[in-house]
Subunit: 390 residues, 2 copies
């Protein structure tokens, strides 16, 4: 079977039906995300990142795969919940609520807001509902307003060692493309310029070619746990956001630099003993703080597959194809669960499931189906082109 | 070699020299705690829990083992740092500072304060310095003042699902005995009564005999990630605090209940495949949130050895001795590092070091030497008694 068909089949016949069947809360709206190996709900709390991500996913499928009413209904359930239950009076989004939508955890960072904005924009496009378009725009503007102090009063760090984090420009570089329909061209270009510059000229290190998670405000190295931290999956995922921007802007230089960075990070973070990509590393080889550092996570490997597929589409580079096949073989043989559907999320270093859940506080209907969609569409282009051996 | 000698030798010839040699910051005072396998400093930030714990440790050795001036000097370096650098103007203790004592992380909970209070009280006893006695008392009173809202403005949870946590009564039950010299008898009795009641009648579950980390304000079960969480090492450590209180108060009933709880928790949380005690579990068998749930941590096993030694001292129960020997064999063959001294802190499920550090952000000069001291003294009593087969 062709790669494109393999991804399409998995998306449409395995992954999406799994979430349609198990995750929709028909009573209170929104989604259950804590699903065990078989899809049974083991906890009913609603984690707002994942509400936004699933509403985005079903809207995106409606917009890009097929205008199925069932998908729109699933998406609608999520955006209503977000709008009515997950937003505070200032337009900030809680981190978690109870099943029936009473707030449990305050809006202590901006990621809930980012995924809500993505969901609103895709849903507005699907439903043609102008209110959601407006809500997407307002949520985005609120994110920009908070971006220099994203944790507000919940910030526990003093000002003694100000660091800036990679997550913010990384997510903005994806969010801005998602929101092109609801922003002015000037707004879009400004955020693209800001985020590409931060990602490629500040966080991407000139000497090592690696991406640091935290740097001094002037971009220099900060030698402490935060400053030494590498999150290889983060860096690689950001590189496919860069390839998308490079593709939009016909910027071959940006694409090539992103492709080289994917390879550099992979060579550095591939586990030579057990295979797979480490979750966290310390750039000086010191013990990282994160006890889960050597685990193999589903999203890291899926985002790497997307990044490599896009990298191959744009370069035809044999090194990229070799890496693609290596990661593909590892990921499909370790994460996929052909018996019960969907993918395991968390493997130990040796590649055995550490938790058998299909969804939880952080894993929802997002990285698996998004990567399936992206790889499907990318391989379709690769396979149709006469430039490639496929 | 007798157990008592084994623990004494390790404490005095291995563990304490390791920290004396590697951890003292002769330039700025206080201690380095980020030490690699050989004791080399790999990070210079100061984590205030660990500053308090090490200052307490050296003061305690001075008071209870030998009045060595060198030990008092090490302790003095820590208490000065705590007093001059780690305390804010309201008497709260930061979570972390730079090497030279500039605050990095705000006082966002009360545990830094608890370990500072312990350090001040032991140091006051060692040095006869009344200022530190006063400081210990003030710090303790400040903890009590904050105990119903320990995170203050850093609390991210709304009031929708108020839960109370086990850590607070647990630490108070130990802290209050540490501070007997600086509190009135009434203050001591009040806190003992409060903490014993919370630990043994609220968090200890009547049906299962297990200890939950979080319960509803009325003590009932709360079915969510926090409410289902078990931390077996926490529960077992608290049981030796209970045995100490039972011993102080001649309360055989309390001691026996604590001993039974130790056995119940051990039977539940012992890894039947690889040996060792799990770090976290979900009481309903659901996937826990903590990705490190199946790891084997030094402190869990050391506190279990202390708890079992004390349990055996007070009961002579053969089941306790059997468990003692099982945990002893596991712990000494997996955590101890005879090549470079001290103990590894973090093993993977199979018992191999996950991180080879001897100290870090959370591991300092505390659980290893405290357990060595406690086991040494407890086995000395057991071995001298004619009631036991030792």
């Amino acid at each position: 079977m062709k790669y494109s068909e393999h991804y399409k089949n998995t998306l449409l016949n395995d992954v999406i039906p799994f979430w349609e069947r198990h995750s929709v809360d028909h009573k209170f709206g929104g989604y259950f995300t804590c699903l065990d190996q078989n899809g049974k709900v083991y906890d009913t709390d609603k984690f707002i990142w994942l509400q936004g991500r699933q509403a985005w996913m079903f809207s995106m499928l409606f917009n890009n795969v097929e205008a199925k009413e069932d998908w729109l209904k699933v998406a609608e359930s999520g955006v209503s919940f977000l709008k009515e239950k997950a937003m505070d009076t200032d337009g900030n989004f809680f981190f978690a609520t109870t099943q029936d939508g009473r707030p449990l955890v305050q809006p202590y960072n901006i990621f809930s807001d980012c995924f809500a904005a993505m969901a609103f924009a895709q849903y507005a496009k699907a439903s043609k509902d102008e209110d959601y378009k407006e809500l997407a725009r307002n949520t985005y503007l609120n994110i920009l307003k908070k971006k220099d102090d994203p944790k507000g009063k919940y910030e526990k760090r003093t000002g003694v060692r100000p660091l800036k984090g990679f997550s913010l420009p990384m997510i903005l570089s994806n969010l801005v493309l998602e929101l092109e329909d609801v922003l002015s061209q000037k707004e879009v270009e400004e955020t693209i310029d800001f985020s590409v510059n931060e990602v490629m000229n500040v966080f991407l290190q000139k000497d090592s070619g690696l991406i640091h998670e935290n740097v001094n405000p002037d971009g220099s190295f900060s030698d402490n746990f935060e400053g030494r931290l590498l999150n290889p999956g983060h860096g690689i995922e950001a590189m496919w956001f860069m390839i998308d921007i490079g593709s939009r802007n016909d910027d071959t230089q940006l694409i090539n630099k992103a492709v080289q960075t994917i390879i550099t990070i992979l060579e550095y973070s591939w586990d030579k003993v057990f295979g797979g990509i480490y979750y966290f590393m310390d750039v000086k080889g010191n013990p990282p703080q994160q006890l889960e550092w050597d685990q193999k996570l589903w999203w890291v490997h899926l985002e790497t597959l997307v990044a490599l597929a896009k990298a191959y589409e744009h370069t035809g580079d044999q090194r990229v194809l070799d890496w693609y096949e290596k990661v593909h073989n590892y990921a499909w043989s370790h994460f996929a669960d052909p018996d019960n559907g969907e993918w395991f999320g968390y493997l130990n270093r040796a590649g055995k499931p550490l938790l058998t859940l299909k969804g939880g506080k952080w894993k929802g209907c997002f990285h698996v189906p998004r990567a399936m969609f992206q790889c499907w569409k990318t391989f379709e282009k690769i396979e149709q082109s006469t430039n490639f051996k496929f």
